[in-house]
Amino acid sequence: MLVTIDGKKIKVNKKCTILELATKNGIKIPTLCYHPDLRSDGKCGVCVVEVNGKLMTSCNNDISDGMIIQTTNERIIKQRKINAQLVGCNFEDEEEFRKWLKLSNMPDIDELKFKPHASQELDDSSHDIVMDFKNCVLCGRCIQKCRDIQTVNAICYKGRANATVVTKSLGKKLIDTNCVGCGQCSLVCPTNAIREKESYKEIKKLLKDPKKHIIAQTAPSIRVALGEEFGLEAGISVTGQMVSALKKVGFKKVFDTNFGADLTIMEEASELIERIRKNKDLPLITSCCPAWINFIETFYPEYLNHLSSCKSPHQMFGALIKTYYAQKTKINPRDIIVVSIMPCTAKKYESCREEMSVGGIRDVDFVITTRECAKLIKSFNIDLKLEKKMQFDNPMGPGSGGGAIFASSGGVMESAIRTAHYFLTGKEYSAIDFKVLRGNSGFREASIKIGNKTLNLAIIHSLKNARKILEILKKTRHKYHFIEIMACPGGCIGGGGQPKPTSKEIIKKRAKASYEEDKSLEFRQAHKNPNIIKVYMEFLGKPLGKLSKKLLHTKYSDKSKCGL
């Protein structure tokens, strides 16, 4: 096919949309509701181009042979200016609006002529997400994520014509819907109408209190994504700079959640082996994703017995900080504040759960997202890029390579197998990189031989695939031995609290960085990490032992609400 775009003649072999063609050839067409991972409906009208004398949106119209496209001229600029007028009043504030105008190559406008007319009340009933629909431009990205990719359906459209709004299911408060807190909606919202429930301002105040011993722990997903908030390209690991910045901000200690991940591996690999020996409650399903836990408690409570009883890494780590670390340093655990920096919004609710505390003391006191962490650092006028690299603090850490790959979908599985293989056979697995478990698809299966046993494994990301595998389990329950389920597409590196924008391409780059970090570390298996060996020897005893069960394990309950 021969297509002319802005005077340039281009030969095209594969069918694509006008917008995709322009992007491939370096022409920037403004967009608002367009997202590379989602279906384009031409809702916002910002991406108009002129084709054969008519204006049409470029995101949902395909190219055809002989098409003559103009991406900018006087008529198009006039169209975009009026579009900006209609949309501008919905942005959080004028500064954000002008930032968007500049970033997306939109023409500048003088002053906003219209006032917003939406009238929904702010909904901050949920622990994880705040919905402030007065800023909604009805791009529909959040509904596509919640309906098509997560199949949770906590939000939907309501009404028609100018009374059309995005609202929660049945008009309820968010906490009364089936929302699992995954935060994928907040990850794609262009105007922050849906955002995480922020707590970084409260932490900033507490950092000034000299009586409190505030500790930060950072998930493996943060270090490969935080740089994006400071202008770096996706996929650059900023571990050392992150530690330095957080220390400057005032955290007394900065720990590595990868250490907590190693604890999870020790416990979960042992759990897997025990279940295989007893042939009971198989397949074992991972439990470190809180949105997945909310999902199974809400929609499939009949499968709760398959979940691992392990807490998630940061919760295990928090429990140890409030006991082992408090004893070692002789600090009163009530004066210790643990702040988990996570790529996740659902962990905010997770940290509040009754089961996530020991003796009335919460394992983790605050959870902030990657985006909040960046805001916190920026509020001290610190530029992450200029920081010198520093190491994580001891005695809790650092983690092994097995902990680092928790960030990516398939990482928990791979790490658990590295350790389970050693526990079962006494030998390390021959190929330390389980390439067969890595990949981008949301539904991957693999079979691995450990000794004389063949284990059938499945790796899932996105809740629609979680539904798929649970429906399969209804029919062939004993096919799998071990299933890893992550609610967010790509795993935690694509989590609801990660920097915006996040797309499949960016997730691939972040995943690559976490696998490189694994390769670069001294210890690549959890069971080889000397600090882990020390903790068990000095304090916990053994995996699944009495103290481990008390501090590092949890239980679940049926939380089904409104039917489907």
Binding site: D41, G42, K43, C44, G45, V48, L55, T57, N60, D62, K78, Q79, I82, N83, L86, V87, K113, F114, H117, V137, L138, Y157, G159, R160, A161, N162, A163, T164
Partner: protein, 359 residues
């Protein structure tokens, strides 16, 4: 009126003697055009949809000023069922959905009786729930599937991928009523049902040939001091001219889009006020999916409501003119593309009335 003729399923027997391909060729040759407002050649639509899994008879008429579908249902529902049978034979379809507007639910019983007695194919009656946009061919698909009442992007057209992702043919009820008449000796493809209302002595439905002059129609209906003529809510408007020819080609020359629902207004009526009620109509009946149509029409209504209290500033009138071009350029479906045609023509042809309302 030809549309009232009782053909008693005789023409269906005649049609069945031809092969489906030959039947579609006959319909193409007859020159029959769709009567839903888009004026697409029926024979060509059938050729593109064949073999269709579903046929949809669109009786969701909600355009202001148009009430001819009700006339057909009142006077000759049998010919509609016969037309559907002929269509289903030609398209090799086994299932038809007869989509009735909610206010027409009183016709369901009578139609089901005729279907039981006479129809050789399965026709299921589906009743709407009060949504103008469901008259659009992709919104009708969403409505039958139980989804939100909004349009789909075209392409793919329903003839490629329609109801439940199968090939579907959507025809207006008057088009299907005219299908059996193709087999009559005096078939005339230009005959169409005009719905005339407004400041006239005898409002109602008239069957006339396309290509009549406005003078002829005005005399027939007893127009009282005709001043402004509006073609439904989405067709545009024009000052009364004796020799204006009512056909699609001629109307295009004036910048309007021909509709068969014709509203006559005398010179006591205010054109900006009629425009305000047209914009109010589109503001309440659009599906709300696309920003240009939803927000653009809303802001236009807000601006038109200004004249109830005071005059427009020059700036406000300029914004109105900008929005009038903006809405059709950014919209995805027929409603958005035609919601401001009436305003555009009104400002062009009745400028003096608007000037009086600007400071």
């Amino acid at each position: 009126m030809q549309i009232k003729r009782k053909t008693n399923f005789e023409n269906f027997k005649v049609a069945k003697k031809l092969s489906p391909e030959a039947l579609i060729k006959k319909v193409e040759k007859s020159g029959l055009m769709g009567r839903g407002g888009a004026n697409f050649p029926t024979g060509l639509k059938w050729k593109m949809s064949r073999p269709a899994k579903y046929l949809i008879c669109n009786a969701d008429e909600s355009e202001p000023g148009r009430f001819k579908d009700k006339f057909v249902l009142d006077n000759n529902p049998e010919i509609v069922i016969e037309g559907i049978n002929i269509a289903m034979y030609a398209l090799s379809t086994k299932q038809c959905f007869f989509y009735l507007r909610e206010e027409f639910k009183k016709y369901k019983e009578k139609l089901e009786k005729i279907i039981k007695e006479k129809s050789k194919y399965k026709i299921t009656i589906v009743i709407g729930a009060g949504s103008y946009i469901c008259g659009e061919e992709t919104a009708i698909l969403n409505s039958i599937e139980g989804k939100r009442a909004e349009t789909r992007h075209k392409p793919p057209y329903p003839s490629e991928r329609g109801l439940y992702d199968e090939k579907t043919c959507v025809n207006n009820i008057e088009t299907l009523a005219r299908i059996p008449l193709i087999f009559e000796d005096d078939f005339d493809n230009e005959l169409t049902l005009f719905s005339v209302s407004g400041d006239v002595q005898s409002p109602g439905v008239y069957e006339e040939r396309q290509g009549i002059t406005l003078k002829y129609l005005a005399e027939k209906v007893g127009a009282i001091d005709p001043y402004a003529i509006f073609f439904g809510a989405s067709g545009g408007c024009i000052p009364f001219q004796q020799d204006l020819i009512l056909s699609y080609k001629e109307m295009e020359k004036t910048g309007n889009f021909f509709q068969t629902g014709i509203m006559f207004f005398n010179n006591e009526k205010s054109v900006p006020d009629i425009c305000r009620s047209i914009i109010q109509f589109f503001n309440e009946e659009n599906c709300g999916k696309c920003l240009p149509c939803r927000e653009g029409n809303f802001r236009l209504l807000q601006l038109f409501q200004v004249i109830l209290k005071r005059k427009w500033t020059k700036e406000e009138f300029q914004i109105i003119q900008d929005l009038i071009d903006f809405v059709p350029n950014g919209s995805q479906c027929g409603l958005g593309k035609s919601s401001t045609i009436a305003l555009k023509s009104a400002i062009k042809y009745f400028k003096n009335e608007f000037d009086k309302l600007i400071e």
